[in-house]
Symmetry: C2
Subunit: 287 residues, 2 copies
Amino acid sequence: MSDYLIGPTPDDTRLTRGVRGRDHEGRMVDLRVVEERPLTIYLNSQEIVTAMTIGDHPRWLAVGYLNNQGMLLPDDVITAVDFDEETETVVVRTDRATDYEDKLKRKTRTSGCAVGTVFGDMMDGLQGVSLPAGQVRTSWLYPLAQRINTTPSLYLQAGAIHGTVLCQGDQTLVYMEDVGRHNAVDKIAGWMRMNGISAADKMLYTTGRLTSEMVIKTALMGIPVLVSRSGFTAWGVEIAQQVGLTLIGRMRGKRFVCLAGEERLVCDAELAHVADEPRKSGRKGAS
Amino acid sequence: MSDYLIGPTPDDTRLTRGVRGRDHEGRMVDLRVVEERPLTIYLNSQEIVTAMTIGDHPRWLAVGYLNNQGMLLPDDVITAVDFDEETETVVVRTDRATDYEDKLKRKTRTSGCAVGTVFGDMMDGLQGVSLPAGQVRTSWLYPLAQRINTTPSLYLQAGAIHGTVLCQGDQTLVYMEDVGRHNAVDKIAGWMRMNGISAADKMLYTTGRLTSEMVIKTALMGIPVLVSRSGFTAWGVEIAQQVGLTLIGRMRGKRFVCLAGEERLVCDAELAHVADEPRKSGRKGAS
């Protein structure tokens, strides 16, 4: 499997901080824990949101956020993306004049996260969305999961972070991490937009839960497959079924459950060759 | 250990839905997955937010949310909490006339979640906050964790959910769950407010990560101890140290790390009697 185009950077010392504490045996321990930094995103002259992020890809985060909120339209020409490290702001400029005052007033707290997300708008955005019906092969999924689970990352080293990986067939392309799960997805969307990457033949793998908001966001990005180690919500499953998204969750070791798009799933992997993961005693896992 | 005052209700069929899918061996499987329902919260005549929730405790969620956003002040008299199941709305009424138009315009997406959270306001609210310095005994923590990890819950049965438990000494008091972690905490805050429960001698145990927002929320609720299975962010640790919150994370089996308030921690448990939990190979865990 070839290298990630963009991968995690766990050794970037700006993303973590050393802290000292005591463990259960009273010993001093030194840990590295992830940073959270505010990043204020402007669209043209309008302040949109302040996101707390580890701070590795502010430009992609800004573009992806605005894209996924429907504030950057597909035909918009982005004329500049200016990041000022000192003021921790990004200004995304477009040829089109924009004003989202109304949108900014409406707010919904969703199951995962969102600020300024007009959940109703997101649901409206799904009207008539029907994702391309591509095959999903288990002979892709298992190597992808194996690769992702062994890639050195802040997730593995420092914890308290979510990762999302853009994949194509059995190749991992872009692995983004952040404290907020939606930031990781938005960074991928930003990278895709800035690089003119198509979504129709891609898959998204996430460490987070398959909630309605996660499914909606993936569908609005045009990505027809969403995979996670974690579980589902009922509405997430329902929306996936409505828009033709293939939804696979609780993927650990050999096991997974497909709750939408089973007809597109090709079970061609040799299961005997797939390493299993012992079940945690009783716990399905929270995220 | 006595029964929870309020505990999880995993058998409440309104909170989950049966869905059918295929597993990795191509077999049909039936699962129960958690529901997400919108709940629109009003303060007097002003619409504040729509929260996605499993829907078990709408009144406590509304009161707790408003309390934790600083929109309900400590001296406010709540004159009514009206829940309308059909329109999925809760109206919280106070003797004081309220208007939070300005607060609603400012938005920050935090590492976890928040909508309408004025993060700057939350940080301001911490000015001069110094939490009561109580002891925390490991002889409390281990039985609490054991109890919580074996309590029948949606977390154990359906996954994709977060739990937060209010504790006192070695007693679990109130265990709230929800798809959104902050909802679970807000429900506890609502219950405490409606029942006149003091915070100074309590602890909060959560399945979620110890991010800045989680630490701030706990501190603003006046609870001086926060414990989690999960990891920390740097800012979460820093804030905890500043306000005198005892912060214990990565608590699994015998192990934990205390990154703030070590001086208040009394390691009086007999470790040989505490069941251990095998380390997951390599993974610190995302949430």
